[in-house]
């Protein structure tokens, strides 16, 4: 250290680290907490689709019709939400179920680093088919 040098390079370095730490802490408060509620929204849409009979109708629809139906429901999500839904229909025969159809609908591309997934199982009244729906959502 040179004579008369009160503020050393070490002190400037320490103060810089402190400032960066403070900035990082304050930036943390900008993290959107809404992500926490995304699964709730996704689950409520899946439940409403099931209980309004939309999933049940898919059993009678062609793949193209089902895709159009699902796309129209995804469109009712808020504009800042991207999502895709995949519905797999399984057919039961005896004690085994085999995958018979897969229908996918898309609204934007969910961010893989911040996406959340919700699932719901539904079945046809006569028990010969059941469906597994999986929705991936993220803010985008």
């Amino acid at each position: 250290m040179r004579r008369g040098f009160i503020f050393t390079l070490d002190a400037v370095f320490a103060a810089s680290i402190l400032l960066i730490a403070l900035a990082a802490i304050s930036l943390e408060f900008y993290t959107p907490s809404q992500t926490f509620w995304l699964p709730t929204m996704g689950n409520s849409l899946m439940t409403a689709l099931d209980k309004s009979g939309v999933f049940d109708n898919i059993f009678q629809q062609s793949d193209a019709q089902a895709q159009t139906t699902l796309t129209s429901y995804l469109a009712s999500l808020p504009p800042n939400v991207n999502a895709n839904i995949t519905v797999k229909i399984y057919h039961g025969s005896g004690s085994t179920f085999t995958l018979s159809r897969t229908i996918t609908a898309i609204k934007g591309v969910p961010d893989p680093n911040h996406e959340t997934t919700v699932k719901r199982i539904f079945n046809k009244v006569d028990g010969s088919y059941f469906g597994l729906s999986e929705m991936v959502l993220s803010y985008g």
């Binding site: 103060a15 408060f29 809404q34 808020p78």
Partner: protein, 157 residues
């Protein structure tokens, strides 16, 4: 340094840097405190909005056959996410003054509205947000008259 000089150029330089760092830290600290306060307020509004929405769509209320005069706890569900039309109408008829207390959010003002999937208003109650500092809206999808509808619960103050 000249003889008899108390304040050196180095000292002035150090004081200037020291004060700049101090004011920068002080400013950052103030911002951090304010953000912390805003975050807490926003968080409590989000929790209130989502709790009220969840309670409405998952509970039948109390008494189970409540109406606008007998209501103790508001719930408008037949089953989870399936809305009882009669109770929904009773909810819409509740006075704004008691809505916050009944829904457990007296700290906030509340607006509840239901729309079709496409966004056409079915019915609404409560106070529309005005001059607010904090606002949070919870969106839930529900089955209403066998149609997928949207229930918005907005809390604000």
């Amino acid at each position: 340094m000249h003889k008899g000089q108390v304040v050196t150029l180095d000292l002035i330089f150090a004081l200037v840097i020291g004060m700049a760092v101090f004011f920068a830290l002080n400013h950052e600290w103030g911002i951090a405190i304010q953000k912390s306060y805003d975050y807490t307020e926003r968080n409590s509004a989000e929790i209130a909005a989502h709790s009220i929405a969840l309670s409405l769509i998952s509970s039948k209320g109390y008494p189970e056959d409540w109406n606008r005069t007998t209501v103790r706890v508001v719930g408008i569900a037949k089953n989870l996410d399936v809305i009882d039309g009669k109770k929904f109408n009773e909810l819409m008829a509740l006075p704004n003054a008691s809505l916050g207390d009944l829904l457990g959010a007296s700290e906030f003002r509340i607006m509840i509205n239901m729309t079709s999937r496409a966004g056409a208003t079915i019915n609404a109650t409560g106070l529309a947000p005005a001059n607010y500092s904090i606002l949070s809206t919870a969106l839930s999808f529900v089955s209403f008259n066998n149609n997928v509808s949207k229930l918005y619960v907005t809390v604000w103050k």
